[in-house]
């Protein structure tokens, strides 16, 4: 009788959360990020931007801002050469020395962060990383003569701070130019890529977002355009680049590993128990022979 009660108690304890779970666990909200897949990488497709992709590059263009975001994987181990060939392919202009050059450590390795003033109208910002014999280059080019836009990734300098304000100031210092070094009027916006802090003043704007141990910063001076759209598209490209879109195989692998480990644990119990019984039988046989 005791056992019966215990069994019922455990069953109730178990069934209750399961019942709640079965009823309330939400079904997927449908639309997931669409990805453009080339032979060597995936890049998220940016809605509202004109898709100019070919077989091995992902390229998106926003005519209103004269901005282009392009991802490519080049068969070279030389990062700088890869970046220069990409910028040449994108703009056709002579590549001058970068106005900003640094490296950041992201989860999958060290990325080069570069920014260029290519000519009067064109600014380019690049993230590039060597992967084996290839180099991945993600470039952002803005050709509006009335504006200058730079997007950068910086390692966070202050863990205590919630927003990217400090990195925005650092980026402003590094870029120099005529951007006012201190922008007032902080504001927060939530975009599909995350929560951004926005600073703006006359003729300049800066946005920053914290992700992982890094801050993603977008700076603009000149004609007030839609910096939020640019920054958001750039970041969705960067962050989406990490994610493998169809990852159900990894899920299957994960489940296989779980079952393998649990199976090994049970198997070792069973195996040890069996050899134990064999030994016992042998001992008893020996004892029997002696007796």
């Amino acid at each position: 009788m005791m056992m019966m009660k215990t069994a019922i108690a455990i069953a109730t304890l178990l069934i209750a959360p399961f019942a709640i779970g079965a009823v309330y666990a939400e079904d997927g909200e449908g639309a997931s990020t669409p990805y453009f897949q080339t032979t060597t990488f995936n890049a998220p497709i940016i809605e509202d931007w004109e898709n100019q992709s070919t077989d091995d590059i992902a390229q998106f263009h926003l005519a209103a801002e004269q901005a282009t975001i392009r991802t490519a994987s080049l068969a070279t181990g030389d990062v700088i050469a890869a970046v220069e060939s990409e910028l040449d392919a994108l703009t056709g202009s002579q590549v001058s020395p970068p106005i900003y050059s640094d490296k950041v450590n992201l989860a999958d390795g060290t990325w080069h962060v570069l920014a260029y003033d290519l000519d009067e109208a064109t600014t380019a910002s690049v993230m590039a990383r060597r992967a084996g014999e290839r180099t991945v280059v993600i470039s952002f080019v803005e050709r509006d003569p009335a504006a200058r836009t730079v997007v950068l990734t910086l390692a966070r300098t202050d863990d205590a701070q919630d927003d990217a304000g400090r990195e925005i100031a650092l980026a402003l210092d590094a870029i120099g130019g005529s951007l006012p070094s201190l922008l007032k009027q902080a504001d927060n916006v939530t975009l599909p890529s995350g929560d951004w802090v926005v600073y703006s003043s006359d003729g300049a704007a800066a946005m920053g977002m914290v992700f992982g141990n890094d801050s993603y910063v977008a700076l603009r001076e000149g004609a007030p355009g839609d910096l939020a759209a640019l920054a958001d598209a750039w970041n969705r490209t960067l962050l989406g680049f990490f994610i493998t879109p169809d990852n159900s195989r990894y899920l299957a692998l994960g489940l296989a590993v779980v079952f393998a480990i649990l199976g090994t644990l049970m198997g070792s119990h069973y195996w040890r128990d069996r050899s134990l019984r064999k030994d016992l039988a042998l001992l008893e046989q020996l004892a029997g022979e002696e007796g």
């Binding site: 779970g21 909200e29 997931s32 990020t33 992982g212 990894y250 030994d279 001992l283």
Partner: protein
């Protein structure tokens, strides 16, 4: 001499005797519960928009850590009671806790790694939390090596009780590492400070509800049931070793 052998054989028989009914009930419920959490997490729960299918691994990844926590916690309890009472059963419980906890924390580590590949674009990164979880596994692997290296049973039990208590500090470190070394990119689902997290997802009510049964199961039934089987096995092994010794000395 003969009489003594017989009585030990009897002990062994008792241990191999049918399982207590409570254990059988627990086993059935653990298997059913495990199957249930799989259905809930892998079929009923919705697909995460940003991460896709792989996010479902989380319904095992996080609960398995807490399963390891229970098992390693029972190792501490077993160690303390063994040292106080010198009761061999509690030493067996401590050992069972280490083996089960190690298996669970391996599940935790490997599922995390498999999740990181499609989301962080790497199998492994030297993030503080990942590092401390790996070191936690190594600590308990060291426990098993150390245990195998001590011949004298009394010493072995006492030493390993002490080591099992000390080793728990690495479990606590893994839990609280974000307070010591804040720049971890490991997402925090329960509790504060997801600020640095990379690849976190919103713990909507749907996710939490699908997680809850799994968490409860791994926290209680899974470690306790498997450990109970292991404790009984260890008792039989020890009884057999005693028998072997006696057979040799005869």
């Amino acid at each position: 001499m003969g009489g003594k052998t017989k009585s030990t054989t009897l002990d062994l028989r008792m241990e191999t005797s049918p399982q207590p009914r409570l254990l059988r009930i627990l086993t059935v419920f653990t298997i059913l519960g495990f199957a249930g959490t799989l259905v809930l997490g892998f079929a009923v729960a919705g697909t995460d928009i940003q991460q896709g299918e792989i996010q479902r691994i989380f319904y095992i990844h996080m609960p398995s850590f807490f399963g390891a926590f229970t098992a390693f916690g029972l190792t501490v309890v077993g160690g303390i009671i063994y040292l106080a009472r010198k009761s061999e059963t509690w030493d067996r419980i401590a050992l069972a806790g280490v083996e089960v906890g190690l298996a669970f924390s391996l599940i935790n580590l490997l599922t995390g790694s498999i999740w990181a590949r499609p989301i962080w674009n790497t199998w492994w990164t030297w993030d503080p939390r990942l590092t401390s979880a790996a070191i936690m596994c190594l600590t308990y692997a060291a426990y098993l090596m150390l245990r195998a290296g001590i011949d004298d049973p009394g010493k072995r039990r006492a030493f390993m009780s002490v080591y099992g208590i000390l080793a728990f500090v690495t479990v606590l470190i893994t839990l609280f590492i974000i307070r010591i070394v804040p720049e971890t990119i490991h997402p925090v689902i329960v509790g504060a400070s997801p600020q640095n997290a990379q690849g976190g997802f919103e713990a909507t009510s749907g996710v939490v509800i699908a997680l809850l049964p799994s968490l409860l199961l791994w926290l209680t039934l899974m470690p306790i049931t498997i450990m109970w089987h292991r404790v009984r096995l260890e008792a039989r092994i020890e009884a057999l070793n005693l028998l072997k010794l006696q057979a040799l000395s005869e």
